[in-house]
Symmetry: C2
Subunit: 376 residues, 2 copies
């Protein structure tokens, strides 16, 4: 483990002072902002997410605000998913690709008005791609990063805390739908959303000067349900089969290879960056697929380090000595009682049920089995 400090270029979030007070121990960087990765008690953090309610500073999920007469047009150009049916107040998860059909982001697009969208991004500067398209096509649209910072409540009891603070109407919000409102005078958007499969909400703070205040409102209200700090949880997301763009993908990965085919619409009748390439890739058949991997042996040392990612680079996967792809992420799994992970492997060479050998960065070889996703 190494030392790290926030700075104006790798920005602390509006919730930074609050999470420091709550005992944050480590960070990663996501969209040029500090994203917490642990609070010192991985078992308790996992348990809160699975059985209670966990409070996450996910301000690093920055928004790209797109506004103006051509806003809907450019949002569709960026999106490999048909956005024409997206209603005001609705969010849609969508893959975004480059001209070659390579995944560059997988945001949730929020439609605030017919000419006003937020693109709630994974870790790449979608803002710059939107600027480039708007310039190249001379579109009438403003692109900016607004003062908007999501705070997530995740876990089965999240709905109780959010309903207590915001009102019982949140119980009726459908997944990814949202509403603009205020909490003690603080402007927010409340959305049923979040980067886990345990249910919950994201509360988009619209005034960065109120981060500590908003954090403390939920932290206080949540005490009755045992709330505590957390962050996007590597163990839970792998168990649940959630892809992390940039972790499980690289500059050669298309959406079909990471199980996102159901979010790609090949028949969109509009300008879409990468659509021609996606049609070609689909017609030819994607060469790789993402499967689960379960390691045959457990390593106690890996369980002990559950709070951080297991390896610094993709691990090599081979079958009967032949390279078949990579293991992109691994984690000890409390629910499985095993070390598990994701494998991005050649369809022709590696499928569910096959045994593979995985070589980690230290040259150690482990036996593992390919399985379906999600694990649980």
């Amino acid at each position: 483990m190494f030392a790290f400090a926030p700075s104006p270029r790798v920005r602390p979030s509006p919730f930074y002072e609050a999470i420091v007070a709550d005992g944050v121990k480590g960070f990663t960087v996501y969209n040029h902002m500090c994203l917490p990765v642990g609070f010192g008690d991985p078992a308790a953090e996992y348990d809160r997410l699975m059985n209670g309610v966990s409070l996450w500073d996910v301000a690093a999920e920055r928004q790209v605000e797109i506004q103006g007469p051509d806003a809907a047009r450019i949002v569709q150009t960026l999106s490999a998913r048909d956005m024409s049916k997206c209603a005001i107040g609705q969010g849609k998860y969508t893959p975004m690709c480059n001209r070659d059909g390579i995944l560059v982001n997988d945001p949730i697009v929020l439609k605030l008005a017919d000419d006003h969208f937020w693109v709630s991004i994974a870790d790449s500067d979608v803002k710059l791609m939107a600027e480039g398209i708007a310039y190249g096509q001379n579109l009438n649209v403003k692109v900016c990063e607004p003062d908007v910072s999501p705070l997530a409540l995740q876990g089965p009891k999240a709905v109780e805390v959010v309903a207590h603070v915001v009102g019982d109407w949140v119980r009726d919000l459908k997944y990814f739908w949202f509403r603009e409102t205020e909490i003690d005078g603080i402007p927010v958007v409340v959305q049923r959303s979040g980067w886990s499969k345990q249910g919950g909400f994201e509360v988009y703070l619209r005034d960065g000067s109120k981060g500590t205040q908003l954090y403390n409102i939920f932290n206080e209200a949540g005490k009755a349900w045992g709330i505590g700090p957390g962050n996007p949880n590597n163990m839970e997301r792998i168990e649940s089969g959630l892809v992390s763009v940039g972790t499980d993908t690289d500059d050669t990965t298309n959406p079909f290879e990471v199980r996102l085919e159901k979010f790609v619409n090949l028949d969109i009748d509009a300008d879409v960056i990468g659509l021609d390439a996606l049609r070609r890739i689909h017609a030819e058949g994607p060469k790789r697929h993402t499967l689960g991997v379960v390691f045959d042996d457990n390593k106690e040392s890996e369980f002990a380090n559950a709070s951080f990612y297991a390896d610094v680079r993709w691990q090599s996967a081979s079958r009967n000595g032949k390279p078949v792809g990579h293991v992109t992420a691994t984690t000890p799994s409390i629910r499985m009682g095993k070390i598990i992970g994701f494998a991005l492997v050649n369809r022709a060479d590696a499928n569910i049920g096959d045994s593979i050998e995985v070589t980690n960065g230290r040259g150690e070889v482990s036996q593992a089995t390919l399985v379906d996703i999600p694990f649980v």
Copy 2:
């Protein structure tokens, strides 16, 4: 200070194993890659840079490779500087802006051939802006991030080490000019360059599997000149007046405000993103300027923490109680014997010689004086 670990999404560089062996203590993240920030002895690291030779893993200065019949056209569209006179084998430092004339990057563009460029970027995804423009204008150009990772040798003795390894011809390289060559069979580009004012070279590794080998070649060869590890040095860059885009700029900063006017050509006769806005800003007169700031009192504690950035956010600057802008970066300065920094302040309210009050993130107020840049 917090904990940090590399992962596939915040990638270790090809020199990672070598710098771990050399005692790296901390990282920041730059272009989705780990950039070292210290090796445990800030005074020695500064001294090597000023008086000897320092070896830097700056692989996080990623390249955007632009290739094809429209390559020169899109490079000019991205650049606020006239690139028409750039020769093959030459590099040019250029501001890049969005449609509003706001600085989004300040790379060095390297022209490898008439239809082949590298854009050696600061910390934002220029690749995605290039993709957007290429899509929007239907340009015939390939954009990618190639397997290219700069290793820098900086300091007055850098030329001796590089000449010893590569050959005496490097002594004749002009600033930002480069040549493609090999070192023990490893393909590299050698450029007179580097993110300090102490002179030196960047050796662009073109085979990421050879990072440790290349690092060790220079580390061994440099022993006669007292080489040791280092990284872009906050103290030296502030003393020398080097802007850091993303640190000293935000989403409202144009090139004129951060002393880059000499790199902006308003009379370019070509498509350039942001050129109209830059002409308007220039005609109206930029509202802010960047000045040096010298604090009246030294704080011993700040000298003790010289290896990391001094504050997590911009500090507020006021004059006679009126807000005038921000202090964007500070450092203890060994050469000045003072705490110094950069101030981005209103031209109408704050100029060289003025006294200002600076309020840091802990609410502490310091008196300081505005001065010209560079400091030394």
